[in-house]
């Protein structure tokens, strides 16, 4: 009888659940991302350097966050209670964020050279000017981590100390030739230069589709099935689901030149790991990385699989190296529901110990 009653109850709730389900999906774009107040410190083209407002800055050197080119950096500051930025501000850090913006066709000629040698370099300069510090901590995530590593691997001005004291690289692809992406774009018959020239900027939707195709059933079916189950069981998941779903679907275009460089450097030739990569003629040598170094790897990372993130340890010359390895995914590791208890305190502690004068 109770099984029958349960079935009848579920059927009676079906219309309300269906409406709630549809409403949750249809209003995802209305979700508000961001938990912390900030102000623009510097802009160039579509790039913006943000500084988060805080009255509790206790550490001497600022922290600059750098995210990938293919997603928005809002993941650092997703929503109140689930924001790494909010947490770091609470821990007394002076937090800056480099936002690459939304590249359009006029940015098609932007290459990795421009992103690393100009935009990142200038953002570091402006961070130091705004904070009044002589050094900073740099935290890159995904492609952002690779760009940060490239920056630290470029030849240095012998007359000046390097501005980066602490370098944290989260789920950073280093040797990507064994990944599924490499199987897709590694074939020399795939003419990346022509595709980049035709498309000018690789549409964000194309990048999103490619990312989702890595786990097609999970991304196109299981996510929605779990949402339905959450609603059916009466667990309101709207607040958790919508900001993340909105962030996942918000894919900026990838400038064609940078995309072609990235494909060749990372998925075909392995130039970065092989020490042959060059930006503006200067060779990137990851052996030049001698900063205090924090490497975060994720065991279930399908975007930058763990084996492809590990070679960094063999390449750098840092004496202070910390490795944090967890079983999470590429994004969930740092932005998931468990991150606040598990990995954020470790990040804050690591930076805090190294952010004094």
């Amino acid at each position: 009888m109770s099984a029958l009653a349960d079935t009848v109850t579920r059927l009676a709730r079906l219309p309300a659940n269906a409406l709630e389900y549809a409403n949750t999906i249809l209003t995802t774009d209305d979700a508000v991302l961001g938990a912390s107040e900030r102000e623009a410190v510097w802009t160039h083209r579509g790039v913006t350097l943000w500084r988060y407002n805080s009255t509790e800055r206790t550490h001497d050197i600022p922290l600059l966050l750098v995210f990938a080119l293919i997603n928005r950096p809002a993941i650092f500051d997703l929503r109140p209670g689930s924001s790494l930025v909010e947490y770091l501000l609470g821990e007394g850090f002076d937090v800056f964020l480099l936002d690459w913006g939304y590249p359009e066709e006029e940015d098609a000629e932007m290459g990795l050279d421009e992103y690393v040698c100009d935009e990142l370099h200038w953002a570091i300069r402006e961070t130091l000017r705004a904070s009044g510090a002589e050094e900073l901590s740099l935290m890159g995530w995904c492609i952002g981590a690779t760009l940060c590593a490239m920056y630290c691997g470029l030849p240095r001005d012998p007359g000046k100390p390097h501005p980066v004291r602490n370098l944290a690289l989260l789920t950073m692809p280093v040797e990507a030739r064994g990944s599924t992406y490499a199987r897709w774009v590694g074939d020399p018959a795939f003419d990346v230069d022509t595709v980049a020239e035709n498309w000018r900027v690789i549409p964000g939707s194309a990048v999103d589709t490619a990312n989702k195709l890595l786990k097609p059933v999970t991304n196109y079916w299981t996510t929605y099935r779990r949402l339905w189950e959450g609603i059916e069981q009466g667990k309101s998941r709207r607040e958790a689901y919508q900001p993340m779903a909105k962030w996942v679907a918000d894919n900026p275009n990838f400038p064609g030149r940078a995309w072609a460089q990235w494909i060749k450097m990372m998925y075909r030739d392995g130039d970065l790991v092989g020490g042959r990569a060059r930006l503006r003629g200067e060779r990137i040598d990851l052996g030049r990385i001698d900063q205090n170094l924090l490497i975060v790897t994720a065991g279930a990372d399908h975007i930058a699989p763990r084996p492809g993130t590990m070679p960094i340890f063999e390449l750098v010359s840092s004496e202070d190296v910390t490795h944090v390895d967890r079983p999470g995914g590429h994004i969930g590791l740092v932005a998931g529901s468990a991150a606040r208890k598990e990995i954020w305190p470790e990040l804050a502690e690591w930076f805090g110990e190294r952010s004094g004068r």
Partner: protein, 142 residues
């Protein structure tokens, strides 16, 4: 409702479904990681990119003949603005650097006045100490 420790029909159905979904997940992930799928995807991307260019060129041609600015015209203008912004950024940085150097020189001159006749030596010593502090700080943290 389970009876005699046996799962109910609903539980059996659910387990069957979860098993099927799990199998499908693995199968699809295996399928997309094959070189043949990669070749299919790559060729599709090439075709879509080419179609995008052809469509864009045709649209621009039509608009231009109607004496209306097309996407390529707007892009060209935006690029010119970008170049101007690049130059402005570099000029601003030069000005800021010169201003910093001027401030440093004025501070040095002020120190020279305070500590003459050995001011030059004192100023050099100050810079050296400053550099030394940074080096010390870094080696301390490593």
């Amino acid at each position: 409702m389970p009876s005699n420790g046996q799962p109910s029909a609903e539980e059996q159905l659910r387990a069957l479904y979860e098993n099927a979904e799990s199998t499908a997940t693995r199968a699809f992930e295996q399928a997309v990681s094959t070189p043949s799928f990669g070749a299919l995807l790559a060729r599709s991307a090439e075709n879509v990119a080419a179609l995008s260019r052809i469509g864009g060129d045709v649209a621009d041609l039509v608009l231009r003949n109607l004496r209306v600015a097309g996407r390529s015209d707007i892009t060209r203008l935006a690029r010119q603005l970008h170049r101007t912004e690049d130059k402005l950024e570099r000029v601003l940085q030069e000005i800021e650097q010169l201003r910093d150097e001027l401030s440093a020189a004025q501070a040095t001159a002020s120190n020279d006045g305070d500590s003459a006749p050995n001011g030059r030596t004192a100023a050099r010593g100050s810079r050296a100490r400053s550099t030394g502090t940074r080096s010390t700080g870094r080696s301390r943290t490593t």
